[in-house]
């Protein structure tokens, strides 16, 4: 079990009314790899992540985690099984603090029986430690997330995934809307996850992300898998050409 793929998708399909966003995708994600998913707008990349993470039910097909068939009723189900997803815009509550965001939905409490109060000190400590693992220099865990830079926000979102000790992290366009330096920071974060032995599936439009962090790339086109290959030896231009050819 520990040698097979961590995530396996078989014949995965997703239909939104008349739109077939995914038309039978087979995909194995190997343990410890960074897999990039590329494709033109509307190719089905986000749909793939949503279905794989339990945010949306598949119309057909099977998902197995660690070789066992699973059917998540919600992303929270998936979190509990070690699969965390970072949705680009929806991940954080801007006016809540860093600690509140990291522990959202899984707050630490102390007390007896039903008389449990939030353990804010422990959450601040925990959030700081998780962020330190990501080489983030954020210090004030009570600061609202809205004052952070885009790169720092991604660090907070990733810290939440670490909080769940996620073995598999799915990310949808984590560098979209970020500046050059911030994108580089996010790539660092992804490499940190890989160093810790975690598996990352990364959707990105930015081929520089793919070249910098990914081991393999899967190209989707029209809801189907058009290409699947190692990134070795490819540069951003090659990748762009592959995506364009697949879409044509």
């Amino acid at each position: 079990m520990s040698t097979g793929p961590i995530l396996a998708l078989r014949g995965l399909a997703k239909r939104y009314g008349a739109v077939e966003a995914l038309r039978g995708v087979d995909l194995d994600v190997a343990r410890g790899e960074v897999l990039a998913i590329c494709g033109d707008n509307g190719a089905g990349k986000s749909s793939l992540l949503k279905v794989a993470s339990g945010a949306e039910p598949p119309s057909a097909g099977e998902i197995s985690l660690d070789g066992r068939a699973v059917s998540f009723r919600s992303p929270h189900d998936a979190l509990g099984m070690g699969l965390a997803t970072i949705y680009q815009d929806l991940a954080l509550a801007p006016r809540l603090s860093i600690a509140q965001n990291v522990y959202m939905g899984s707050e630490l409490t102390r007390g007896v029986g039903p008389l449990r109060l939030l353990d804010k000190a422990a959450m601040a400590r925990g959030a700081r430690a998780l962020l330190a693992r990501l080489n983030s220099t954020l210090d004030d865990m009570a600061a609202p997330v809205e004052h952070l830079s885009g790169g720092q926000r991604q660090a907070v979102a990733i810290a939440r995934a670490l909080r769940w000790d996620a073995r598999l992290v799915l990310m949808d366009e984590p560098t979209a809307a970020l500046g050059v330096r911030e994108s580089a920071q996010v790539r660092e974060l992804i490499l940190r996850l890989k160093q810790e032995g975690r598996t990352v599936v990364l959707v990105s439009h930015d081929m520089r992300d793919v070249v910098a962090v990914a081991d393999r790339v899967v190209i989707l086109a029209g809801g189907r898998k058009a290409q699947e290959r190692p990134v070795d030896g490819l540069d951003a231009t090659d990748l762009t050409r592959l995506v364009m050819n697949a879409a044509a």
Binding site: P75, H76, A93, P94, R95, L96, M104, G105, T109, L118
Partner: protein, 313 residues
């Protein structure tokens, strides 16, 4: 410096206003008058805290004043029918809670935006209150066990002040120190993110609206006990004041978010404003003008969650 102004600016302005009245308004500083202002604050603060619970979860409860009137009428009906003070008190709170639960069910199960759902329920509550009373209202003799809930004192402290302290503490602990409070805030601030993180957001929206109803019921109980009467629409005048208290409160302490210290301090400031203006001989309608300006200005300063709640129609 800017952060201090942002967090405490309007609170300091409120404080300055109170100091102004202390110095210039005749009799404002008299202990009896100040105690009256605190007592007056109680019902208003309870209603405002309720509205704040719902708003924390991202829902607008426009029904709380009519729910309170209905709950007061329920208390009046039970007490006047001879069921006793306890039944009357329980009846008011239960009526408020029940209507809050109805709001929650309509909003989360029938997917009606709270702005509309609570407006509808307000009309229903108003109609029921008139139906029960036939429009006349319960006056007559009320048992002192009932009126004492508001008018009595415990260890020398007016009971209304104790209710205010108790309700404020409850709301503050619930919102700041419990998991439910954290989940309410996450739901209101970023519903989709909260849902994806495993927060049961529909349940939190129901909780916010239920608490709003329960607090309206408690406020109604104290209002009826204090006035020895229960009439349809008796809480109607509190609507704008309570909304103003929450909005003004959102400009202080935790700017942009409904918060307990802000709400209660704002409720006190509004009551002090009304009291001080009367003592200084300002005409009654001047209060309405001040209230309107405060509401609009507060939202202009910080009203993000309110905007979100109001425009998710």
């Amino acid at each position: 410096m800017r952060a201090v102004v942002e967090r405490y600016g309007t609170a300091l302005a409120g404080l300055a206003l109170i100091v102004f009245f202390l110095v210039f308004a005749p009799n404002f500083a008299a202990p009896a008058n100040l105690i009256n202002v605190v007592k007056d604050t109680c019902v208003l603060a309870l209603l405002a805290l309720g509205f704040g619970f719902a708003l924390t979860a991202g829902e607008l409860d426009l029904s709380f004043a009519d729910v309170a009137s209905f709950a007061a009428v329920m208390a009046g009906f039970l007490v006047q029918a001879g069921h006793g003070a306890a039944a009357g008190a329980a009846g008011a709170v239960t009526a408020g809670l029940a209507l809050g639960l109805v709001n929650g069910a309509v909003v989360t199960r029938l997917n009606v935006p709270s702005l509309i759902a609570t407006l509808g329920l307000a009309a229903v509550a108003r109609g029921l209150a008139f139906w029960i009373t036939q429009g006349v209202g319960f006056t007559g003799r009320w048992p002192t066990a009932f009126t004492g809930l508001a008018r009595g004192t415990t260890l020398g402290v007016p009971n209304l002040a104790l209710w205010l302290i108790g309700a404020t503490t409850f709301a503050w602990v619930l919102l700041k120190w419990t998991k439910a409070g954290a989940h309410l805030a996450a739901t209101g601030e970023a519903g989709e993110a909260a849902r994806l993180a495993g927060v049961d957001t529909p349940r939190m929206r129901r909780l916010g609206l239920a608490l709003s109803g329960a607090f309206a019921g408690l406020a109604a109980l104290l209002l009826a006990a204090n006035l020895s009467s229960a009439a349809p629409n008796m809480a109607g005048d509190f609507f704008l004041y309570a909304v103003a208290a929450v909005l003004l409160g959102m400009t202080m302490f935790e700017p942009g978010r409904p918060n307990v210290p802000g709400t209660v301090f704002a409720a006190f400031t509004l009551k002090a404003l009304g009291n001080g203006m009367v003592l200084m001989g300002a005409p009654y309608y001047a209060q309405d003008v001040a209230l309107g300006v405060i509401i609009v200005a507060s939202v202009a300063v910080s009203g993000t969650i309110l905007r979100k709640a109001a425009f998710r129609v």
